[in-house]
């Protein structure tokens, strides 16, 4: 179970202005700007739930995910995931979660993908049988047979992203955080990834929390959505409910755009 209660996070950012003379002055005196990335964020996600976490760019989605992964310390509030506080008990916590940061890569660039997978097996100390079972199943589902021996640098974005997902699941995580897992994928890859996430949730009961800008991801995957804007949770409800309130005939994209407009974010 994931429970966030009143989580706050403020970033201090050095102010930069354009131009050479200003850049030079910044060497001697710095001005800082404080950005409240998260204001009083609270929500609960039950075991086995699949939740879409949406909001415009810069709303605080990634910050929330990083806090839930134990990568970032919040300034205030509590976060309890399966009985642990992620940033206080990082090592024990991350053993039970899987994460895909869509914008980054966890694969080693110059060695075959399968070497990266084996490294992850050794890091999590996954036993050989579990590793093999998971790998075989994931490779089958995401159709990766031919590229296991290819170095990550030679993969297409879609192939790489599918490998990233495999890498995050080899150790049987109970919770999966997906931060923009379908970014830049073509239609075929998107469908494969969606289908796969759905199956994972249905068959293994993995809790999934995903952020995305692709509303079709949300439509295909999640019943519940949480909307965040300017660091605040604005809405926590079901997709059906939203659809009922939306203007007739609006597609998911238009619905969300209407939402953003309504909340002025």
């Amino acid at each position: 179970m994931i429970e966030l209660n009143g989580v706050n996070k403020t970033f201090r950012i050095a102010k930069r202005q354009g131009g050479f003379s200003r850049a030079f002055r910044a060497l001697f005196s710095r001005e800082y700007e404080y950005i409240r990335a998260l204001k009083n964020v609270s929500f609960t996600v039950n075991d086995g739930e699949m939740v879409g976490y949406i909001g415009p760019n810069g709303a605080g989605k990634s910050t929330t995910i990083k806090i839930m992964c134990g990568v970032l310390n919040p300034d205030g509030g509590t976060c309890n995931i399966n009985g642990r506080t992620p940033w206080k008990n990082r090592v024990a916590h991350v053993r039970e979660i899987g994460v895909v940061f869509g914008q980054r890569s966890q694969l080693w660039w110059d060695v075959p993908v399968v070497d990266s997978f084996e490294l992850i097996r050794d890091i999590y100390k996954t036993d050989a049988a579990t590793y093999k079972r998971n790998l075989d199943e994931l490779v089958e589902l995401l159709e990766l047979h031919e590229i296991l021996k290819t170095p990550a640098r030679s993969l297409s974005l879609g192939q790489r992203m599918r490998c990233e997902i495999v890498a995050s699941l080899l150790h049987d995580p109970k919770i999966l955080f997906l931060d923009e897992p379908t970014i830049g994928l073509d239609a075929v890859s998107k469908l494969a990834v969606r289908q796969f996430i759905k199956r994972l949730n249905a068959e293994r009961g993995t809790t999934v929390l995903l952020t995305t800008h692709d509303m079709q991801d949300i439509e295909a995957l999640t019943e519940r959505i949480i909307l965040i804007g300017k660091g605040q949770i604005l809405l926590d409800g079901s997709l059906t409910q939203l659809k009922a309130e939306a203007p007739k005939g609006a597609n998911a994209e238009e619905m969300v755009a209407a939402l953003y407009k309504e909340y002025a974010i």
């Binding site: 970033f11 050095a14 760019n57 990634s62 990083k66 992964c69 134990g70 990568v71 970032l72 310390n73 990082r90 090592v91 024990a92 991350v94 053993r95 979660i97 994460v99 940061f101 914008q103 980054r104 890569s105 966890q106 080693w108 660039w109 110059d110 060695v111 070497d115 990266s116 084996e118 490294l119 050794d122 890091i123 999590y124 100390k125 931060d179």
Partner: protein
């Protein structure tokens, strides 16, 4: 202390292996490095030879010791020079992919230590053997002179391993400082070049003024390339060698403790950059 007891080595060995293989891919870079090191070594030796010719008696090291020192130094450049940073570590902090390293159930200090050790060792393997193989067959005054006593080899290998440890734990401090700066290029260059100078990378420490040399030998700088190279070339032997190894051990332990403590502080305020 600082999680040292909880470490199980298997994941770190695996990490060492993958980083090692990853670096071995860069053969062209190694070949380019090899050529540079040769040219550099010759240039150094010729410059020293000119000085020695003017007045051989006024130098603190015998010419053959200096030549051996220089060839060995060129062969192990990737092992001992601080400015041979592991850019993958700094990039991970600056680009924010550190987030992926922190979602692994491992200790970040040991993780970086293994990666950067693997990187240095594999780069050295590609360079050291050809350089040594050629340097021992060069004509007389320019030849790398191999020690005859077994004891000297043993002390050299111990001292070399410790020097690598001191270099790694010292460079860890520079990597950790990347958490506090947006771009650590400046810190890296200033610390790298000055620490290399003070550790005898450009001029061997025996050539330094006596008081300065005495102080540097007690600081971590004297525990880096200085000690193994002087032991191998025969300039340092007997009690002095054991004393030097003792100081190396002291600095290795101290720097690891300081680095681990600082890392645990830094991680409390870590900001993983970017979305």
């Amino acid at each position: 202390m600082f999680g040292l007891t909880a470490i199980n080595f298997k994941p770190y060995r695996a990490l060492f292996r993958i980083r090692f293989t990853n670096t071995l891919q860069y053969r062209a870079a190694a070949f380019a490095g090899l050529t540079t090191q040769f040219a550099w070594g010759f240039m150094y030796i010729l410059a020293f030879a000119a000085f020695y010719r003017s007045n051989p008696g006024s130098f603190p090291m015998e010419f053959s010791h200096t030549v051996t020192y220089i060839w060995l130094q060129q062969a192990f450049v990737a092992l001992f020079f601080l400015w041979f940073y592991d850019n993958s570590i700094i990039e991970s902090v600056e680009s924010g992919s550190i987030a992926y390293e922190l979602v692994r159930p491992m200790d970040l200090y040991s993780r970086w230590f293994s990666i950067t050790a693997a990187n240095r060792v594999s780069r050295t393997l590609l360079r050291a053997i050809p350089i040594l193989a050629i340097a021992i067959f060069l004509p007389r005054p320019f030849r790398l002179v191999l020690p005859v006593e077994l004891m000297r080899y043993i002390l050299f290998f111990i001292s070399m391993a410790l020097a690598l440890g001191v270099v790694l734990s010292f460079s860890m401090l520079i990597y950790i400082s990347a958490f506090y700066t947006i771009n650590s290029m400046g810190t890296r260059i200033i610390f790298g070049v000055s620490a290399d100078f003070l550790s005898g990378a450009y001029i061997p420490l025996p050539f330094f003024p006596d008081t300065m040399r005495f102080v540097l030998e007690l600081l971590p700088f004297g525990s880096m390339q200085n000690m193994p190279l002087l032991i191998f070339s025969g300039h340092v032997y007997g009690v002095a060698a054991f004393r030097g190894i003792g100081i190396q051990l002291f600095w290795l332990v101290t720097l690891v403790i300081v680095g681990r403590f600082w890392m645990s502080r830094a991680l409390k305020r870590v900001v993983a950059q970017g979305g």
